[in-house]
């Protein structure tokens, strides 16, 4: 199974199909509006595409893959990868599980948010979001754009913006030239920047932060793959083939490019260092936690990010820390001495995408083979519960343990007599437990 239909994912899928492996490729595009609104997986910052579709070039690529024998599922996300190679899929309506002999993660990169004053205003977004929006929707919904960053990524954003009719009114490198503040009501309307000691106010209705990108490691984290720190960021540990610490999971493409991650980490650190992060600036946008509150929590937690998270809810909102955890780690790293492997950061937990309850509920229930002695024991307990001789709350406890035992009996092919014995023993235990201590 290949997760991600970009160049690296396509190559991996094609190679697998050519080897004769039954190959399934998932591609999340088009990114659902619900995800866009939650800043998942990119920092969309309130951008609302009038429409979103898979880009023509991508459609052609996926069609070619299908011709090459790959099963392609468009509009489908992976919400979890488990260590045994089971992958949870989600197509917007339902979830289901697929067992794969090998899982190739080609999930690429996601945005790095900078806590510039005013960064939570609408119209302030990341580079991945900008590129995705330009390609899929053919528009950014921005007339006048300021780009923050000066590397290849910033240039790509500038080019993409211009190609969809957005004017790039300024590019600020983020270190020598800095954004001091972004102003606006609900949406950004002007940017105060400084360059060579000169302040200027730039009228703009969009700001794209293009300092760098972080690898989209959530599925690797969920699967328990070993990670490797690169300054404030972390990637997946892998060998030259991309094989991770889980032998059945490989990483490819931008996700696996640990050199690029290290470079982004350096750029991010430099840009963060140039920001005078006031206590009043928002640190976690989802949970509305200020930098001051986060700093206090870090101090009280003696530099433990897990504890600071529990105290403030930082990283617990819909974007699950994509925008705020690198910043939180920066606050810790600069205040506490840390060993060379970097600041410990909590691992991503499933689901990797917000999934509706009804969608998670769609997997088939496995039937437990029932055996008569347990049914009889349950009947006796229920009768006694009605007669107030046994706690009615004990029935649920009996049912739960009976389920486990009947499953064990079915898998070991035990005899009727054994079933009878186990059922009676369980019944006695439940009866005794309900009254002990009274």
């Amino acid at each position: 199974m290949v997760v991600g239909g970009g160049r690296a994912g396509q190559d991996a899928a094609r190679a697998a199909a050519e080897r004769g492996a039954s190959t399934l490729l998932l591609d999340e595009d088009p990114i659902a509006p619900a995800l866009v609104g939650r800043n998942v997986p990119y920092w969309f910052g309130g951008l609302r595409p009038p429409r979103s579709r898979v880009a023509d070039a991508r459609l052609d690529d996926l069609a070619a893959l299908a011709d090459a024998g790959v099963d392609v599922l468009a509009g489908t996300s992976a919400w979890a990868v488990f260590a045994d190679g089971t992958v949870g899929l989600f197509d917007g309506a339902r979830t289901w599980l697929v067992r794969a002999g090998e899982v190739v993660l080609a999930t690429g990169t996601v945005d790095l948010a900078l806590p510039l004053p005013g960064w939570t205003l609408g119209g302030v977004f990341g580079a991945c979001a900008a590129l995705a929006m330009a390609e899929r929707a053919g528009t950014l919904g921005v007339e006048r754009l300021v780009v923050v960053g000066d590397g290849a990524l910033a240039r790509r954003v500038g080019d993409a913006a211009q190609s969809v009719g957005t004017e790039v009114v300024a590019t600020v490198d983020g270190v020598r030239e800095r954004v001091l503040e972004m102003r606006g009501a609900a949406r950004v309307s002007s940017v105060i920047a400084t360059s060579g000691g000169q302040r200027s106010e730039i009228v703009a209705d969009g700001v794209c932060v293009a300092i760098g990108r972080q690898p989209a490691t959530e599925l690797a984290e969920i699967a328990g793959c070993a990670l490797v720190s690169h300054g404030l960021l972390r990637g997946v540990r892998h060998d030259e083939r991309g094989t991770t610490s889980r032998a059945n999971i490989r990483v490819v493409g931008a996700l696996a490019d640990n050199d690029a991650t290290a470079a982004s980490a350096r750029a991010f650190d430099a840009a963060l260092g140039a920001i005078d992060l006031a206590d009043g600036t928002t640190a976690c946008a989802c949970e509305e936690v200020s930098a001051g509150r986060l700093r206090d929590a870090i101090r009280v937690s003696d530099g433990d990010l897990d504890e600071a998270k529990r105290r403030t809810r930082v990283g617990m909102g819909p974007c699950q820390g994509r925008r705020c955890l690198p910043v939180a780690m920066s606050l810790i790293a600069h205040a506490y001495v840390r060993p060379s492997e970097g600041v410990a950061r909590p691992r991503f937990r499933p689901p990797a995408r917000p999934v509706p309850i009804s969608a998670l509920a769609t997997e088939e229930d496995v039937a437990i083979p029932r055996s008569a002695p347990f049914a009889h024991a349950e009947e006796r307990l229920i009768a006694d519960a009605h007669a107030d001789r046994v706690s009615p709350f004990a029935i649920a406890r009996f049912d739960r343990r009976a389920e486990e035992l009947q499953l064990r009996l079915a898998t070991t092919g035990a005899s009727e007599a054994e079933a009878e014995q186990l059922a009676r023993a369980l019944e006695s235990e439940i009866r005794a437990a309900a009254t002990r201590g009274e």
Binding site: R38, R349, E363, P392
Partner: protein, 367 residues
């Protein structure tokens, strides 16, 4: 360094003991292998809704009395006592009135209510339910806020907290506890509490004491925020849930038999259990079908062999107190246990009858 008491394990039991002792002016050292509240006490569902059977009844009754006061003392821990509704599904074997009278007979408030009343209390509820049991004194709290505030208050009162610390030895001489050695230093004390949840056995072993508890991994998930529709706890169809002050739903249930909880010390989330929680919630509250799940997690609870807590101030070695096996409703009753142990350390006695919770009951059953 010496102390009036050393507490090993900063979960709700150990932390409450520490907090109460500190308020009485005692000198306490709290030791934790990670951080106070990093394990089950910081991962649970936040229900103050104790079991009513057997040895749980007395602890449960006390928990319902203790928590309003304790919460007020701690400050804003999002404590809300709006009651709990246990929903009885159409195919449940027992009737609401049977459950209600069972609770009342054990000294708990409980009223059987019909389906219509249930739905008026919890609008997203399914139609085809028998009804429910309303217990108006049950409450909810933010367990992470409790742990944070109690830890901070303890520190403010002079408690020494050694986090990220492993106990390497419990010193016993002439059948009396003398102190502990840890990776952060040594402390002398005549009172050592081992309240280390699933790790209680291995720590108690350092003093030559056998404590057996079974670990069980329990999973929950949290949803995005939805407009507040209740301040009540709810349970039914095998699951339990509540809505946080900020609107997120916290829901948990035991997983299916083919996804065994086993004796797990990991915090992995599994698909079958996650799906079961979602399936059960969909059946219980179809009105929540479109709400998105943001994150699932796991915590590790622990049970004794007979399913009731172990709370024992041992005769040998004297000065060693063991508290474990708090089970599935441990957060609520854990605070009661912590208060009782603090009294025990301070005064030598506690008004909670500890006879049902003695460790020795297991040894005698094996004879």
């Amino acid at each position: 360094m010496d102390a009036d008491a050393i507490v090993i394990g900063g979960g709700i039991v150990g932390l409450t003991t520490t907090f109460q002792l500190a308020r009485s002016g005692r000198r306490v050292v709290l030791v934790d292998r990670a951080r106070p509240g990093a394990e089950a006490s910081g991962r649970n569902g936040g229900h103050i809704s104790p079991g009513v059977d057997g040895g749980w009844a007395e602890l449960g009754r006390r928990a319902l009395v203790l928590w309003p006061t304790l919460a007020a003392e701690l400050g804003d821990v999002e404590f809300r006592r709006a009651g709990g509704l246990y929903v009885v599904m159409a195919n449940d074997a027992v009737e609401p009135h049977e459950l209600a009278s069972h609770r009342r007979a054990r000294g708990f408030l409980a009223e059987a209510v019909d389906a219509e009343r249930c739905r008026s209390l919890l609008p997203p509820l399914a139609h085809d339910i028998k009804g429910g049991v309303l217990s108006s004194d049950r409450a909810q709290v933010n367990p992470q806020a409790v742990m944070a505030r109690m830890t901070d208050a303890a520190r403010d009162m002079g408690v020494t907290v050694w986090h990220s610390t492993t106990v390497t030895a419990i010193e016993v001489q002439h059948d009396e506890v003398r102190g502990v050695r840890t990776t952060s230093g040594s402390v002398s004390s005549g009172a050592v509490l081992v309240s280390a949840g699933p790790w209680t056995g291995e720590v108690a072993q350092l003093a030559g004491v056998d404590v057996h508890v079974r670990a069980q991994r329990i999973q929950m998930f949290v949803t995005e925020a939805v407009p507040r529709f209740t301040d009540m706890l709810w349970a039914g169809n095998g699951l339990y849930g509540r809505q946080a002050v900020t609107g997120q739903l916290h829901v948990g249930a035991e997983g299916p038999a083919w996804d065994p909880p086993a004796e797990r010390f990991d915090h992995e989330v599994t698909a079958p259990t996650l799906q079961r929680i979602a399936r059960r919630l969909s059946a219980l509250m179809p009105g929540l079908a479109d709400v998105c799940v943001l994150r699932a997690w796991a915590g590790i609870i622990n049970h004794s062999a007979d399913g009731f807590p172990i709370i024992d101030a041992l005769a040998r070695p004297r000065g060693l107190i063991v508290a474990a096996g708090m089970g599935g409703n441990g957060f609520g009753v854990g605070a009661v246990v912590g208060c009782a142990i603090a009294e025990l350390v301070e005064r030598g006695t506690t008004d909670l009858d500890l006879a049902p919770y003695r460790l020795a009951r297991f040894a005698s059953e094996n004879d």
